[in-house]
Amino acid sequence: MIKKISKHIKWGLHDKKYDDDYKQEMINACIEEYKKALKNGLSKNDAYLYAIKDFDNEYYKERIDSENNKINIKNLYLPLSVTIIFIISFLLCTQFISDKVFVWSIWVFLIFNFLFLFIYNIFNLIIKKYGIKTALLNILFMIILYFPFILIELKGNRYDFNNYIIAFAFCITLGIIFYTIKNKFINFTLSLLLLIPLLIIFGYYVIFSELYTIEFILKLLIMISFIVVCILSLIKEKLNCKKIFFSIIFLVLSLLIFFFLDDAIQIYSKYTVLSFILIIALLVLKFLNIKIIKDYSFIIYVFVFFACVKVICSDINIVYRNGLMSTMNYQFLVSAVIFLVLILLQKYLYKIKCRKEFEN
């Protein structure tokens, strides 16, 4: 409950005009009230409501107003990204572009995101929202996220979509691992420092060894990471059903990715199944409200979606080769609409959740 109070206060005092000292003082004051209320015989929930009552009276309206009115750089990001999605979707649907252009569009998107997040971090550093350590760590993390894409370039399989799928899966895995490590286990900086040599070693083998393909190495990394996260979550969160459920899903996923998907599926390619599993996994994550990594989850979402759709469409294309080519466009449009509805729904649900938290 104390953690809940602390989270509540930090959410309410989001504005940079409230310094960290004030936030901490407010948290302490509310915890003090919470303990007092418990001593007076109130139930845990009633004590919590009592402790935050005065805080809410003062800051609830302010926060909701700012939620409704704020126009900041981050808000511009979503419409901008959606516009780009629409442009690429349109190009894809009209089938005017070749695979080459599609891959280039992915790269343009990657570079756009990299530049955006880079500028965003520097901007936050300038306005002193982030400290130098946070900004540098964010930038470092972005570079690590781009690692598989750089590998694809170095190995020269730029037009193999399967590699992109694996690369996206790698990004998601990294996100999940960082989220878990950052919140539960060891120091974030330390984990980054540990991961960099690991990536360099893997990178070395992938680039200079003929024996290991990118696909193999990344799949291996994904499987190991999933299993590590699952075991850690199960050890640490043995009483939390949500976390156990989440762990089991990823344990099953990791086994599927590594063993089952290799040559088992005939009609639809293994990558289509992998794509479906990734989409389902992302949806499960979203609806369980487990954030992968705040600033990156949306980008990863978009990447996965693009690559998956492209692979799925290729499969459908093969299946309906005899005169039913339009099915591809139909499938793509339906997927695009579902995707956009999901984004909007997720944003709407998040707003409702925040309001409910304050109104109860």
Binding site: E25, A29, C30, E33, Y50, K53, D54, N57
Partner: protein, 116 residues
């Protein structure tokens, strides 16, 4: 609990100024003083005290400074400023008079009962 914390509304600022006029103090002591003298009829919670003190700091009525206590932990003390003192002196009589009038208004019903 709810009703008693409502009674203090409107008077919190002047009460805080009155306490700080006597000596510099930290938040938990201020709330203890109010709750002790209030004797259950008037109470204030730490979060609302903190909110008001922040507002008063911004208005220049009080200022804060840190003091290291015996456990080597920083404790934030609040001090009344000269503007705060001036505000207190200027308004204390108005507040007291308003309390008298409030008493008259509150006891109107009681008096009516007695007269009839």
């Amino acid at each position: 609990m709810n009703a008693s914390s409502e009674f203090i509304r409107g008077y919190t600022e002047i009460i805080i100024l009155s306490i700080l006029y006597k000596k510099d103090d930290y938040i938990y002591n201020i709330s203890n003083t109010i709750n002790k003298i209030g004797d259950g009829y008037i109470t204030i919670t730490n979060p609302s005290l903190l909110i008001i003190l922040k507002k008063m700091c911004e208005e220049g009525k009080v200022s804060s400074f840190n003091v290291l206590n015996e456990k080597n932990v920083n404790r934030k003390f609040y001090k009344i400023t000269s503007f705060g003192k001036e505000f207190y002196k200027k308004n204390i009589n108005n507040y007291l008079k308003s309390l008298e009038k409030l008493k008259l208004l509150l006891t109107m019903g009681e008096k009516y009962d007695k007269e009839n």
